[in-house]
Each structure stands twice: as structure tokens, then as C-alpha cells.
């Protein structure tokens, strides 16, 4: 059984770790490339959304490399994502590929289905159900560590005083984390990672701005789709914090250990602007944006796939947040036709606005963004 999973942030790292623990074969889908997008766009129906097309292209590439089982998450959300797996299956079957797709719904929504799906993997694994559950939590723990590395790197990259000091730290941390297997080792590795990033040489005199990165999972996390915006922002003197991390998404009970805010906190922050869950990660985008604005961030960048349902709602709501918190928010929708130049021009404009407003605020010390009182109380 050669398993492959959609490539997005730390998902692959966690899946590879789990497969090695269970003795299953794992096929890494190749890095996203023009070919992935082209394959996906050619095969998939016209109106399905961009991530679905990309995942179809990526699955084809993984199958070509020898994968025979695709593991997909689905869930019961109202966003298009809950039907991705079915459309993927139909398209790939029509094209004559031989594979099996296992669609995992949330264990809390459909415990029986979840159990049945896990049982499909058991015969190929070298462990029973209990051992499998233990391994899953360990892999998830490793995912947290992986995402923490990313989070630290985003925060520190703009300030590094030596060229590629951050990249060196990332490489060292990853090699330490790779070697960790038991729970104790993973926890030690996490402490070591925090230590290692504290030792990255930084230039504290350098002026910097803080930018929040929010949006849909694939577009905000994968550097291929946002044209590696994190590094781009770092070159322009911005430390970045991102609202979504894959390991947070897989952590049950909405604890979000990497992000640092749990789901109730996020819902509360979002509530005057978006009072109901809208599927996908629209609620988190809005809630995290409000949190970032309150913490004095200088700008927000919002990435989403073209016509994404939840994120278009957040984009509409951002008009109001941007006014009330006096914070520039740039929404960029991504699809197969998005070009680097257009995105760069808009990001440069955003940087100009953010730097200017930062200078202005510094001239008037103690001044905070004015929040206009609202008379409309949501029911």
C-alpha cells in the first residue's frame, strides 16, 4: 500500500512520519509546478474551485510516481471542500487511473465512518488499532513542532543580521526533529527548536513592520501559490504571522496550539463582523485579522482561490474591518492565470501604505487606531 496525501504545509511531514511508524509505503507528491496546475486544469470540470483542480493534478503526479492509495480529508462543512474527494475520484476514474481513495470525515462528525476508514489501513500496517491511534497523536505532535519552526522562521527572518541565518536554523531544527521518535524526544526537540531560534542573530535596531497572513489553507500556506510571499515580505522588512497551520487544523477540539488562540477566542474576536461559522476557514480569517489588528499589526495580506465561498465572505467583511481598525488589508485571489508581476505590484503598494502609516503613528506616540463605535448590534 503506497499512500499519498494532498501536499499542503506540514500534512506531508506528518503523513510520512506516520507511515514510517506503521510500516506503510509513502509516496511524496512532487512539488507544485506549472505541470501540476496544467494537468489539474485540463482534467477537472470548469467551475470547481482552484484547490480542487490543483489536488487533481497533484494526485495524477503522485499516481505516476507509484502511489495507489490517496488519503483525503473531507468533513461535513458547507464549503466546496466536502465534495472534493468525490469529484477527484470521478475524474481520475474517468481518466483510467487505478487507485483507491480513502475519504476521512471528522471523527466527531461520523465516528463509524472514521473507524471503518482506519480499518481499511490496518491490514497493511504492522500495528493494531490502539498502536495506530498512539502513532497518530505522536505524528500530530511532530506536526506541531514542524509548524512551530515555520512560525518562528516567519517571525525572525526580516530581522536576521547574517545572510540566511534563518535558513540555517530551519535546516538544523528539521534534522533534530527528524531524529525524534518518542513523545519525550519530540518534546525535547520542541524546546531545542525554541532555543535555537532564540540564538538566531538579529538586528534589533532595524525598523520593521508586522504583517498578518490570512486566507484559505492551500493558498496561504503553499509558497508556490502565493509566490513565496513570506520571503518576499521579509525582504521588505516585514515579520509575518500566519493564521493557519496544518497541524492546528488536524488538532481536535479547536485548540490551535501553534497559532495560540483557540477557536472560541477566534469566534469572539470575529463576532461583531462575522457572527456565524461560514465553512472553510472564513471565520478564522476574520477572527485572526481582528486579533492581528488589535495587536497593532501594520497590514494584512489575504490569499484565497478565485470565487472561494468562505473567503469571498471574509473579503466583503474586511471592507468593514479595514475601516474600523484603520488597517490596510490586501485581498489577492489566486487561480491558474495569476501572474507574479501583478501580485508584486499590489504587494509593493501595500508595503508603501503600511510603512507610511507606521511612520505616522510613530510621530504621534501613544496614539492608537481609532475604533468607531457601531450602533448596530448583531442579533
Amino acid at each position: 500500500m503506497n499512500i499519498t496525501v494532498p501536499k499542503c504545509g506540514s500534512t506531508e511531514y506528518m503523513a510520512r512520519d506516520m507511515c514510517s511508524r506503521l510500516g506503510l509505503g509513502f509516496v511524496q507528491a512532487p512539488e507544485y509546478s506549472e505541470r501540476t496546475v496544467e494537468l489539474g486544469v485540463t482534467l477537472s470540470p470548469e467551475h470547481v474551485c482552484f484547490p480542487c483542480k490543483v489536488l487533481i493534478g497533484s494526485s495524477v503526479e503522485a499516481i505516476e510516481l507509484g502511489a495507489d492509495t490517496i488519503m483525503m480529508a473531507a468533513g461535513f462543512g458547507p464549503c466546496r471542500f466536502n465534495y472534493f474527494a468525490e469529484i477527484m475520484r470521478r475524474v481520475l476514474e474517468r481518466e483510467g487511473y487505478s487507485f483507491r481513495i480513502i475519504t476521512f470525515d471528522g471523527p466527531r462528525d461520523a465516528p463509524l465512518d472514521f473507524f471503518r476508514n482506519v480499518r481499511l489501513i490496518v491490514p497493511a500496517a504492522n500495528k493494531g488499532l490502539a498502536g495506530m491511534a498512539r502513532d497518530m497523536t505522536l505524528s500530530l505532535r511532530k506536526g506541531w513542532a514542524f509548524d512551530e519552526i515555520e512560525k518562528q522562521a516567519m517571525a525572525v527572518r526580516a530581522l536576521e543580521s547574517e545572510e540566511s541565518a534563518t535558513d540555517k536554523a530551519i535546516a538544523e531544527c528539521l534534522s533534530v526533529l527528524d531524529a525524534a521518535r518518542t513523545r519525550l524526544e519530540i518534546d525535547e526537540a520542541r524546546e531545542w527548536i525554541a532555543d535555537r531560534f532564540a540564538r538566531v542573530p538579529v538586528d534589533l535596531e532595524r525598523p520593521y513592520i508586522k504583517v498578518g497572513l490570512v486566507g484559505e489553507l492551500l493558498m496561504s500556506i503553499e509558497p508556490y501559490f502565493n509566490f513565496d510571499v513570506v520571503r518576499w515580505l521579509a525582504r521588505h522588512g516585514a515579520t509575518v504571522e500566519r493564521s493557519l497551520h496544518m497541524s492546528d487544523v488536524f488538532t481536535p477540539l479547536g485548540r490551535n496550539p501553534v497559532l495560540g488562540y483557540n477557536t472560541p477566542e477566534i469566534n469572539k474576536a470575529a463576532s461583531p463582523f462575522l457572527c456565524h461559522e461560514v465553512g472553510g476557514h472564513g471565520h478564522i480569517s476574520v477572527g485572526a485579522t481582528v486579533q492581528f489588528a488589535r495587536r497593532g499589526f501594520d497590514a494584512i495580506v489575504h490569499f484565497f482561490p478565485f470565487t472561494c465561498l468562505p473567503e469571498v465572505i471574509s473579503k466583503t467583511v474586511f471592507m468593514r474591518i479595514s475601516n474600523e481598525f484603520d488597517i490596510p488589508i490586501l485581498s489577492i485571489s489566486v487561480d491558474e492565470q495569476t501572474g507574479r508581476a501583478g501580485m508584486q505590484t499590489r504587494l509593493e503598494a501595500l508595503m508603501d501604505v503600511a510603512w507610511n502609516s507606521k511612520m505616522k503613528h510613530e510621530e504621534r506616540p501613544g496614539s492608537s487606531p481609532v475604533v468607531a463605535p457601531r450602533d448596530r448590534v448583531p442579533l
Binding site: 470540470p45 458547507p78 464549503c79 466546496r80 465534495y83 465561498l309 469571498v312 466583503t316
Partner: protein
């Protein structure tokens, strides 16, 4: 007297009567925006985010039309319509979209409607809203009761024979708010009638048959109206009660795009009746639509004339 505005868009076409009866029972004056005009469509398109779907743009146009005409606007948040189902994210965030679009709108009231909840917990929201309008407790209770009673008739399937005698049958599947709006659908149903075919709509297919067809799918569809559409379309095609199916969806409609892909694939696998998908947006022209329907109907006629074995649904 307080005038409460109701935009004639989206789920108003389904639950409008219930909402109106709620407002009337409270002794307030319901103000429903006029039927969609080109002007409403244009202003809606100009004020909404450009990636929103057509129905939301239409909704925004109606909303802005009510700016002067109403003292408060009612935009219920419809969370579910059937058990185990989900609404489209746009319904869930609709009041928030409405509040974000324009600062100067009258206050927007957004009580929850969770029709799958058998214990009707959601009516508390409506009760509280009635109190905020200044109604007494008994008046509020009466209004809620009136709404629930009228809701029952809204939810009941449309009466009327499934087939008619004029010409041959064509299944027209699409969202109620698109098909019921003559400007948005450009009078699609009437045009089909004029061209000598009789259109069948999703709302007239019995729920029992819809559920039966839905069970044959590998993965359950979790969107309310879309699962009805898929069930009805599969019923029409498998029972051969129509000569062809027209699937009407709007550009950037999320659930619509997924089930569109599903229906196309399923029809291809079953090699059943012909299917035409039409995607509407604010740029859709009448000419293009008419030509395509004409061509589709001609093709159906031609196909059934050359195929004497075609069943009762076929053209004469």
C-alpha cells in the same frame, strides 16, 4: 408604523410568506422590494465584491433599494433546511455581508432559522427580535406562531400534476431564486413553454423519490437545495420522464459548481438523457440564451423523432 424591509432575493422566494406574516402579525408594515430590474442588478453588481455569485449581487441590489424605503431590514440567517444538511456559506454569512456592504443602511436584523431543529429552539431569536420591535410578550408569541404556521405551507411540496399534455417534457433544474426571478433567468420557463415543450421543476418532484435517488450516490450531498436538485435530476433521467435536462446555475456558485460536475459525470456514466448546463451571470444576454434553448429543444425533437422506442417522455 415601522417599515420592515425584505429584499426579494435568495430564500425570500421560498420563505417570504412566512417572514411577511411574522411582520404583519406584529402590526408592522412589511416592505418588499420590487421585482428585479436591470437597475437593481447593476447597482448590486457595483456594490458587491466582484467574485460573489450572481444571487448575492441581486440580493445586494434589492438591499440597497430598501435603504430609503424601510426603517429596519430583515435578513434571516438560514442555517439548515433539512436534517443533517448544511446551507451554502453565502446564506450563513448573508447578514454579515449585508452589514459590511453599506454603512448607512437601516439596522439589519438577522434572526437564525434552523429548520432542521425539531424543537424549534431557533424561534427564540425571532421572539427576542419581536420584543426589540416593541411588541408585547403575547404579541411576540403570536407572531412566532403565525410564522411557524405559514412556514409549514412554504415547506410543503408544490401541488399539481408532474406532467402536462403540451408537447414533450424538459427537466429544468436550478435554484428557486434563479428560476423564480424572471429577470435573472430571463423567463426561461416561459420561453420553453412558448417553444412547445413543458418544463418540469424540482419543487414538484415528491421528496420520497428524491431521497430514493440520492441513496444511490457514493457520497452524500450535504447542501440543502443542491441535494434536492441532484435527486430530482436523477429521478427524471432514470425514469425517462423527460426528453432532456437543462441545468441552470450561476457563475461562482460553489455548491452549484460541484453538483454540476457531479450531474455531468453521472449522466455520462449512465448514458441517459441529454443535458445542457447554462451558467448565468450579470452579463448573460437574452439572445445567447434563446439560441441555446432552441438548439437544445430542436435536438431533443430530432432525436426522439428518429428513435421510435423513446418512452412516454419523448416528443411527439
Amino acid at each position: 408604523m415601522t417599515r420592515v424591509g425584505l429584499p426579494r432575493a435568495l430564500l425570500f422566494h421560498q420563505y417570504g410568506d412566512a417572514w411577511k406574516s411574522f411582520i404583519e402579525t406584529l402590526g408592522l408594515e412589511p416592505v418588499v422590494s420590487s421585482t428585479t430590474t436591470g437597475e437593481i442588478l447593476t447597482s448590486g453588481t457595483a456594490h458587491t465584491d466582484n467574485e460573489s455569485c450572481l444571487p448575492v449581487k441581486v440580493f445586494t441590489g434589492h438591499l440597497l433599494k430598501l435603504k430609503e424605503a424601510a426603517d429596519a431590514i430583515l435578513v434571516p440567517r438560514v442555517v439548515t433546511q433539512n436534517r443533517g444538511m448544511k446551507s451554502c456559506p453565502k446564506y450563513l454569512g448573508l447578514p454579515d455581508i449585508a452589514r459590511a456592504i453599506d454603512h448607512d443602511l437601516p439596522p439589519i436584523f438577522a434572526p437564525v432559522m434552523d429548520l432542521a431543529d425539531r424543537r424549534h429552539k431557533w424561534v427564540n431569536d425571532w421572539y427576542e427580535m419581536a420584543l426589540r420591535f416593541g411588541a408585547s410578550q403575547s404579541a411576540a408569541r403570536a407572531a412566532v406562531k403565525a410564522m411557524l404556521a405559514s412556514l409549514k405551507s412554504c415547506m410543503a411540496p408544490l401541488a399539481g400534476a408532474a406532467t402536462t399534455d403540451a408537447g414533450f417534457n424538459v427537466g429544468v433544474a436550478g435554484h428557486v431564486y434563479n428560476l423564480q426571478d424572471p429577470r435573472v433567468s430571463m423567463g426561461l420557463l416561459d420561453r420553453i413553454r412558448v417553444m412547445g415543450a413543458s418544463p418540469l421543476v424540482v419543487e414538484k418532484v415528491p421528496r420520497r423519490l428524491i431521497r430514493r435517488e440520492l441513496k444511490t450516490l457514493e457520497r452524500k450531498i450535504r447542501w440543502d437545495s443542491e441535494s434536492d436538485i441532484v435527486g430530482a435530476v436523477l429521478h427524471w433521467s432514470r425514469s425517462r420522464s423527460v426528453a432532456g435536462v437543462i441545468y441552470l446555475s450561476s457563475f461562482a456558485c460553489g455548491p452549484g459548481s460541484m453538483i454540476g460536475a457531479l450531474i455531468e459525470d453521472q449522466f455520462g456514466r449512465e448514458k441517459s438523457v441529454p443535458l445542457m448546463s447554462i451558467t448565468l451571470d450579470e452579463h448573460s444576454g437574452e439572445g445567447g440564451l434563446v439560441t441555446r434553448i432552441e438548439a437544445f429543444l430542436d435536438m431533443l425533437r430530432y432525436a426522439s423523432a428518429n428513435d421510435p422506442s423513446s418512452a412516454a417522455g419523448g416528443a411527439r
